[in-house]
Amino acid sequence: MSTGQGTVAGSPLAALRTMRRARRRRYVERLDVMEVLYRVYVAAIFAAIALGVLAGAINEAPASATAVEWLRGHGPALLGIAVAVGVLAGLRTGAHGGPLAIEAAEVQYVLLAPLPRSAALRPAAVRQLRTSALAGAVIGAVIGNFVFRRLPGSPVEWIACLALFGALVPVCVLGAALLASGRRWRPLPAGIGGLLLVAWSAADAAFGWTSSPATMLGELATLPVQSGIDAALAAAGVAIALALAGLGLLGVGGILLEAARRRAALAAELRFSASVQDLRTVVLLRRQLASERSRRRPWLRLPPARPGGHPVWRRGWQSFLRWPPARIARVALLGVAAGALAVGAWSAAPLALLLPGLLLFVAGLDLVEPLAQESDHPTRRQLLPVASGGLIRRHLAAPAAATAVVVLLATATATAISRDPVALGIGLLACVPVALALACSAAFSATADPYAYVLSPELGAAVSAAPLVAASVVVGVPLLFAWAAHRHGGSVLSAAAGGAAFVALVVAAAVPFLARQFDNRDAVSE
């Protein structure tokens, strides 16, 4: 077909392919090559700096024989649990119509045309698999580049195995999502299937087995320290991962058009919100994409409010008590992951102690929901007979309390993994100030005006990133203080208490600042 010329011939599938080629060509023609090259150049510089910093931060001393033995025995199963959690997430996404986000016009015109839907959708699915696998392979290769310095095995072995593992993890996750959406699995059975895989992998970890397909894939990631039968198990894991993706691609045409239309509309909004760094809208749209709605019936009904009680505190908990199971699981998982990451960073790369804060910040974006709702509806807030600043200050209490629970979960995880009571001590000392600081960071992010810096996007990006950096620092500081004391033979708990005191000072400055922002906004609108 010659687009724009008015004459068309051939089969519908040929027309589809020709138009897609023409659209791609047109897209490429419209790209500003210099702009693309500049972006690649900047990204390469930042990547090189990050790799350099990471290489300097990572302890390169060879791992002890005990550590290698532990990795050989427990590594595949623990990685298998992570893969299984990814597959669970993929199955849930698929049950809600993902992972493909098709243009609304594509749904209306192509998926309603008399041609096989699988043929129309497969190229997009393959593209998504290819891109994710490539990104995963690069990340895996980078990790392999650091791992071989500490563990037995050649650089080529580690880089190749981890690159392949990194490529296959997204293939598994996307394959599971494509399978669930193409076969139209309902969220409940899809979730149960994913949970069974997680439980199977957890059983492998508990009993030292290699029976779950996810654990088999985990064998691949540690193959240079494994031997004999483990190579065959890893090969089986690779075959299962590829089979999952193949099955997903085969059934891709079975997608529910209703879900495809909904995702088409939301994905377009999501792209726009991300482009203006409107993180709050991104969170709300992502919840809609996952069909994540508050429960009609709360998990627990609070007793009737007493006169002179604390309505804002009560409102916060009413919100949490309506959370859907998926959100509870996500936040709990982020807490567990933050604890596990802190333990890994403590022994391998202390600079990575700044990373648990990023995970807890993501949890905080959910935990700050009652306050964010107040910010979303300024007119309703301004009609209340109280100053907005004071109201927002009171709104911080419930999210901070809920965040403290998540921080305690991270502490419990770290203590369980490290089997060191010092981890519990650090967590308990830092819990309250860190929870308050995380709630403040999330509140700043959720209530920021995304259009305030629309004319200076660089400044807007910096302002958007500030709460994330702050969360990373407030969680990382007590941990880094404690690590430094541990390294120099000082008192770990005293150092952690010092770090917690620093965080408390940050909170003391941040809360009035946040409150004043709201008072200023109200003053402008009056």
């Binding site: 077909m1 687009t3 724009g4 008015g6 004459t7 068309v8 011939a9 051939g10 089969s11 519908p12 027309a15 589809l16 020709t18 138009m19 659209r23 047109r26 897209y27 243009e103 609304a104 016009a105 594509e106 749904v107 209306q108 015109y109 192509v110 309603l112 045309a113 008399p114 041609l115 096989p116 529910l256 058009l257 209703e258 239309r261």
Partner: protein, 234 residues
């Protein structure tokens, strides 16, 4: 009623989280009929049309298009769906949309039809225009052209005349009459009395149920436009 209806809905139902948008809906539409689908907002008209187009899956019952399940390749070949909100590719001109859609439906030489539709709908000058450059009414007319550029046995149109000026409405009525004369069945969801006047039959939906099915007698169905309790149910 013809022995082989173009559209047959039987026990058709659709629920959303416990809310019944359409319940036990049954209707048969024969070739050459122009059916005005009426009912107050939220009655279930759009739900019925999207179910018949295969964009929604029913909670119960089913829809057949020329004897094939809604959404199947055969049904998609026979059915043209005009949504209430026009949908376009942002990077294609109106002309390219029409060429593309005709090609997707296997039309080998669509140019005369495209020219005719653009001309009659007053879109001739906009052939090379992008959808984003068009006004609401122009977008609606382009969407109508897209629904009519391909061959079909049945057209489902969801409030197609909204936002159109009188000459455009007249052009659309003429195009619909031609399609009907060629044997196509047309179901037009509407709140407009002029569509009712042009129709050969009226189907009214109220609270997800079939409330009226008969002659397009304005007095009989007037209540289903705004005040359903005033209508006389079949």
């Amino acid at each position: 009623m013809s022995a082989t209806p173009v559209l047959r809905a039987h026990g058709l139902g659709r629920k959303y989280d416990g809310y019944i948008a359409l319940g036990s809906f049954a209707v048969e539409i024969a070739a050459g009929e122009l059916v005005a689908l009426v009912g107050p907002n939220g009655a279930g008209k759009t739900t019925f049309l999207t179910l018949a187009a295969g964009l929604l899956d029913p909670s119960s019952g089913g829809v057949e298009i020329e004897g094939h399940a809604a959404g199947s390749i055969e049904a998609r070949r026979a059915l043209s769906y005009l949504p209430d909100a026009p949908v376009f590719y942002e990077d294609l001109s109106i002309g390219e949309h029409l060429e593309y859609l005709a090609a997707l439906h296997g039309v080998e030489d669509a140019e005369p039809r495209i020219e005719s539709l653009l001309d009659r709908l007053g879109l001739g000058e906009w052939r090379d225009g992008l959808a984003g450059e068009l006004s609401h009414g122009m977008r609606q007319k382009a969407s109508i052209a897209l629904a009519l550029v391909r061959p079909f046995s049945i057209l489902l149109a969801d409030e197609p005349l909204d936002g159109l000026d009188p000459p455009s409405r007249e052009a659309v009525f003429e195009l619909l009459a031609e399609a009907r004369a060629e044997g196509a069945a047309l179901i037009v969801s509407t709140h407009r009395p002029d569509v009712l006047a042009a129709a050969s039959r009226c189907v009214a939906i109220h609270e997800g149920r079939l409330a009226y099915d008969g002659a397009p007698d304005e007095a009989a169905v007037a209540g289903f436009f705004d005040h359903p309790e005033e209508g006389s149910a079949a």
